[in-house]
């Protein structure tokens, strides 16, 4: 019986039979359907996925005409910081524009949280102004809401991660509500200044990393910004496939935020005024690539079908079926991209 070269969610290679591959695809889509209470993929979609997963080519691509645009998070952290290339941020952006041919790029500071940026806002706006003179592609400015940074010892508010294990639930909830007010102010302030300095868009990245209060603060910030600047473009990128209920009783537009999956998250983001939604589906390191891919595509398809705004699926390490490895294998990355666009109907990555 022939076997296909594939991987696990942590990137480690393995070989599986056609039957095993088909079974994993089916179990993966059913897991997403069960958790998200959304339709599983059809047999023809599973066949398409099987074809993508089993092609002998090392890399695959979307069919001509199906190409989509890409946006970034932590844009200028990648070459100068993570790759250790000694270049400044504007060189990194021009490298993306003129050598990598990226469709967009993001200016970002190494201290990637809105709270930290207010202290250096003048340097950041100056950097955006300089970058805008030399670049052609749209440039976002991005950072994380990072609600946890407002708690002790980093901020003035009681730490709910310490209050919750002590069963001080009402105190923990109150602390989160208080932190939200600070975070909204910082996000609106920094985003306003960067937009006025010429940013083509603002990226709220890794929304929800501190739970549902982190999401609510970001939604409210988007709402304020959109009222202030009707033309502002805002990308609303999530941190996980469901909103973690650190508070549990926070609502936006009448919807409880905790526990929302991507097809529900996109609707609240849309309502707040987001322009692009960044869907995130977590990769399970222990499961196969096929399992992760079918599961991810199922969530993404439900999300793009529900969305009225473009959906850019996060395909970074450990999300969007991309293996949880520092150097994700191109066979897996290109297959995930193709499947997310052709079956998930993603508007961008």
């Amino acid at each position: 019986m022939s076997e296909f070269y594939t991987r696990y969610g942590d990137g480690s290679p393995t070989r599986v039979s056609a039957d095993e591959m088909r079974r994993d695809l089916e179990v993966g889509t059913n897991d997403a359907a069960d958790r998200g209470k959304i339709p599983a993929l059809s047999q023809s979609e599973l066949d398409h996925l099987f074809d993508i997963c089993t092609r002998p080519d090392k890399t695959v691509s979307v069919e001509r005409g199906n190409e989509v645009v890409v946006t970034f998070d932590a844009g200028t952290l990648k070459l100068p910081i993570r790759a250790g290339v000694p270049m400044d941020r504007s060189s990194a952006i021009l490298t993306h524009e003129r050598a990598f041919c990226s469709d967009t790029m993001e200016l970002a500071h190494v201290d990637y949280s809105y709270k930290q940026l207010k202290a250096i806002i003048h340097e950041e706006t100056a950097a955006m102004e300089h970058v805008q003179l030399n670049t052609i592609i749209p440039i976002f400015y991005g950072a994380m809401p990072n609600l946890g940074l407002y708690t002790k010892p980093d901020g003035p508010i009681e730490n709910w991660s310490e209050l919750l294990p002590l069963a001080k639930i009402s105190e923990a909830k109150a602390a989160q509500e208080e932190a939200m007010e600070h975070a909204i102010k910082d996000m609106v302030y920094v985003a306003s200044r960067m937009y006025e300095a010429g940013a083509d868009g603002i990226n709220f990245d890794t929304v929800g990393a501190s739970g549902d209060a982190d999401v609510l603060a970001s939604l409210k910030a988007v709402e304020i910004l959109k009222n202030k600047y009707p033309d502002i473009a805002i990308e609303f990128g999530m941190s996980g496939e469901f909103i973690l209920g650190m508070h549990g009783d926070l609502f936006f537009d009448g919807k409880r935020l905790a526990g929302l999956y991507p097809h529900q998250q996109v609707k609240v983001a849309e309502k707040a005024g987001a322009t692009i939604f960044g869907a995130v589906i977590n990769t399970n390191s222990s499961r196969t690539f096929a399992w992760n891919l079918a599961r991810t595509v199922t969530f993404v398809k439900a999300c793009t079908e529900a969305a009225s705004i473009p959906v850019h699926v996060n395909v970074g390490m450990g999300v969007g079926a991309i293996p949880n490895s520092n150097t994700p294998a191109v066979d897996a990355v290109s297959r995930a991209d193709k499947a997310l666009v052709e079956i998930g109907k993603a508007d961008g990555l």
Partner: protein, 216 residues
Amino acid sequence: MSIEDIFLEARETILQCDQERAVRLAERALAEGYDPVEVISSGFSYGIRQMGELFGRGEVFLPQLIMSSEVMKAAVQILDAAIIQGETTQYKGTIVIATVEGDVHDIGKGIVVSLLKTQGIQVYDMGRDVSTVKIIEKALEVKADIIGTSALLTTTLMSQKKLEDELRKNGLRDQFKTMVGGAPATQRWADRIGADAYAEDAAEAVTKALLLLNRT
């Protein structure tokens, strides 16, 4: 009330975070002569593990998870009093747990800690960004049975291997059982570095810890 009904209702009180009912049920179970150990393990503990699983699906939230732990504590307090002294069914072992050096992610670990505490395991939570040396020192100091480490980043995952290496190098490996967790960790990783167990989520962490302590 049959023992099966007691188990079912105990699980329900946990899932519904109903402390008053849980306490009443614990008292009734004792009055009817049921084994308190069995009521804890197949009733309340089982409920807590179910809560952990629901939390992992986004169907219950952290405050509920914490509240259910409190319900569990109240019920166990009643049942514990009836357990014959010396059987120490409540105390099952000691674990030292930490997020490894260079890694500040600890939401998942916090949930593991909360659930472990409900199972009669003494937990020493060292927090986040903790060096291998400090973890080993603490484990020696408190005579831990298990050392548990969490890593969310692929770059910090190597610290779990470093812990295994350091334990072996210092002739301490046989003194402790080790458990690993975190998004990039897998059973394959645990096997490769020689850890005793891997857990995918908080509910599994409890099951695996109890297995390592031979207390299932």
